[in-house]
């Protein structure tokens, strides 16, 4: 797999609080591959969004990256100064957020903002920039792009705004696109449209996509690989079919069983007792042990992330490894 465009190794991001330093991201490693989709799955508090922000260098002080490397195009992004970051952010690595109004300024027209985005990274005159913006809108499936360029964000629907945000993110053909729950707040049919467009775009342009979500079903439909996060750590990672059909980590199993399946109507859903610990109250060993029915004394030491099957790893000393019959 030599088409790795972004490689994160042992990333750790912390936020100092009066009660101590919170490790929102704790030793996360992942690879983003050209043209493929990595799903980053977790519930609230798992650290998935902070991982995305860390890669983009968008962690606000006093929070900061405290360890690890982010390798991109031969350099470690962690060591970059703000000027070097600005050359990369938006052009080589781009991000889309859950709320499109985090990308769009409500008091400027769409066209103005997109032209500004074009000019930020290329020398282009306004006419050329506008043409590029128009093309970008067309590529994300927005009808009548010329009219849309003159519109203000509030004149567009939520789905349209998100599409504009994606268009802006893809303006400069980034190597990596990080999408943080962009369709969570949208209706199902609109989500479907956006997922379709994103799928096509990434396939055509070879952009590596990181799709951050809590929705396993979206990952099932969209992603090639999936990484499951819990309490700041990746607990399982592998190909989508492997992880969803033969999960190794009890938490992944629990998440899958929590989702209603057709054919099991009216039956009690398997539920994981308790809830995810807050970063201030992490148990010393495996973070999931208090909720796990397979936990024992061995789980009091932090388990290492180990490969259990081909291209399928888990952070567990008692993985759900089926013994071949």
């Amino acid at each position: 797999m030599n088409d790795v465009v972004l490689s994160v190794r042992d990333l750790t991001t912390g936020f100092p609080t009066p009660a101590g330093e919170i490790r929102a991201v704790d030793g996360v490693s992942l690879d983003v591959v050209r043209g493929r989709v990595l799903g980053l799955v977790g519930e609230s508090g798992s650290g998935k969004s902070v991982t995305g922000f860390s890669i983009m260098g968008l962690v606000d002080p006093p929070g900061r990256i405290t360890g690890g490397r982010i390798l991109f195009e031969g350099q470690d992004l962690r060591g970059l100064d703000e000027r070097a970051w600005r050359a990369i952010r938006g052009a080589r690595i781009a991000m889309v957020f859950q709320d499109p109004m985090m990308t769009l300024n409500p008091v400027f027209r769409i066209g103005t903002q997109m032209i500004e985005a074009v000019k930020a990274h290329t020398r282009a005159d306004t006419r050329t920039a506008r043409a590029r913006a128009r093309d970008a809108l067309g590529r994300v499936g927005i009808p009548a792009p010329d009219e849309r360029l003159d519109a203000y964000p509030h004149q567009l629907s939520g789905g349209m705004r998100q599409r504009v945000a994606i268009a802006i993110a893809l303006l400069h053909g980034p190597q990596v696109l990080i999408a943080d729950e962009p369709t969570t707040a949208l209706d199902v049919t609109i989500q479907g449209q956006i997922l379709a467009e994103v799928q096509t775009l990434c396939r055509e342009s070879g952009t590596g996509l990181v799709w951050i979500t809590h929705d396993l079903a979206v990952v099932a439909g969209l992603a090639d690989e999936v990484a499951v996060m819990y309490a700041g750590r990746i607990v399982e990672q592998g190909r989508v079919d492997d992880v969803l059909d033969r999960p190794l980590h009890p938490y992944t199993r629990g998440l899958i069983d929590s989702v209603p399946q057709p054919g099991a109507r009216k039956r009690r859903l398997a539920q994981i007792p308790g809830r995810m610990p807050s970063p201030l109250e992490l148990p010393p060993g495996c973070a999931f042990a208090p909720r796990c029915d397979r936990a024992d004394a061995a789980c009091a030491r932090p388990p290492a992330f180990s490969q259990v099957r081909a291209e399928h790893s888990a952070r567990c000393v008692h993985p759900l490894d089926d013994v071949p019959a």
Partner: protein, 327 residues
């Protein structure tokens, strides 16, 4: 199955009118064309719920499902048509020692509990006010209700912000149960919760239904959950019911083009590498819905009649209804 349905809506419509204000009306006198803005949130909807049944209600933004929920819970009065709870007009019902017939569970666990009230007041205020319990029996009633919802009664003295989202939702359910309702309207009651907590609350709903014989109107945009819990499902689009069927049949063989598109778009765990996008176009604004069948601009099978004439919700098979000219 008992004879009379416990919930009945007959030809119910709900319009929200934003009147042109004084300035606009003055301008109208000199020829400006400001109109009152009317949103037909619910447009001539009729259905029944049998006692003990779980009716699922699905649809996307602007379909009116939340409004229907509030009409059933008597938080809104219909602009036209009639809502009947246990055969009576809920606006005439007087709360008394026997409790309230309908209660609603809200979506947002953070804003649906009064932040200034302790849990025991949230749960115990209404039963005391309506004479359902006496003051000396209140603490026991509250404790029993909390325990039934999976909460430790020892925490009754705390404030909502001291609990997690899932626990707050349980408090909301306890608040509803304390007045001994027979019908629960769940308006996206699990949407704001994490997946693993959703499973806990869904199980709680199912347990309560078995223990207390409750009837549910389960409103959600999450089709997977609706399929799991419902006996029957209604599909709404822009204020109208487009399809009604038993849950299994609806999900196995949807008839209405919108239902088909909706189910085609829904990511499910077992559907890998989906090719998305089967529905073109945006959801129209409820302020300016398309003529005739609301779905016709986005429908792959639309014909001329669809733009001209509103389809009637009619029976297409035993127990199945659909509003489409072509089915």
């Amino acid at each position: 199955m008992n004879a009379a349905p416990i919930v009945e809506l007959r030809g119910v419509s709900k319009r929200f009118v934003r009147r042109a204000d004084l300035a606009a009306r003055l301008l109208n006198l000199v020829g400006a064309g400001h109109r009152d803005e009317i949103v037909h949130a619910v447009d001539d909807v009729s259905f029944t719920i049998a006692r003990g049944e779980v009716l699922g209600l699905v649809g996307e933004s602007g379909c009116g499902k939340s409004t229907v929920g509030r009409l059933v819970a008597d938080l809104l009065r219909p602009s036209a048509g009639a809502v009947r709870i246990k055969g009576e007009d809920p606006s005439r019902a007087r709360p008394g020692p026997e409790g309230l017939a309908v209660q609603m569970i809200f979506q947002d666990p953070f804003s649906s509990l009064n932040p200034r009230k302790r849990v025991r007041d949230l749960v115990g205020e209404a039963p005391l006010a309506h004479g359902m319990v006496r003051r000396d029996g209140l603490a026991d009633h509250v404790a029993a209700t909390l325990a039934r919802c999976g909460l430790d009664p020892a925490y009754a003295g705390r404030f909502p912000h001291q609990f997690s989202g899932g626990q707050r939702q349980r408090i909301g359910i306890a608040r509803a149960l304390a007045v001994k309702p027979e019908i629960l309207v769940c308006d996206e009651a699990i949407s704001a919760l994490d997946v693993s907590i959703q499973a806990q609350i869904v199980n709680l709903f199912m347990d309560l239904r078995d223990e207390l014989g409750l009837t549910y109107l389960f409103i959600s945009h999450d089709l997977g959950v609706v399929e799991h819990v419902s006996d029957r499902v209604l599909v709404m689009y822009l204020g109208r019911i487009v399809e009604s069927a038993p849950a299994e049949e609806l999900f196995a063989a949807p008839q209405h083009p919108y239902t088909r598109a909706l189910l085609g778009e829904v990511p499910r765990l077992h559907r890998r590498k989906l090719a998305f996008a089967q529905v073109k176009g945006e959801i129209p604004s409820p302020l300016d819905p398309p003529s005739g069948c609301h779905f016709h601009p986005r429908c792959p099978h639309a014909v001329a009649r669809c733009a001209a004439e509103r389809p009637v919700l009619k029976q297409i098979a035993p127990g199945r209804l659909a509003a489409c000219h072509l089915v």
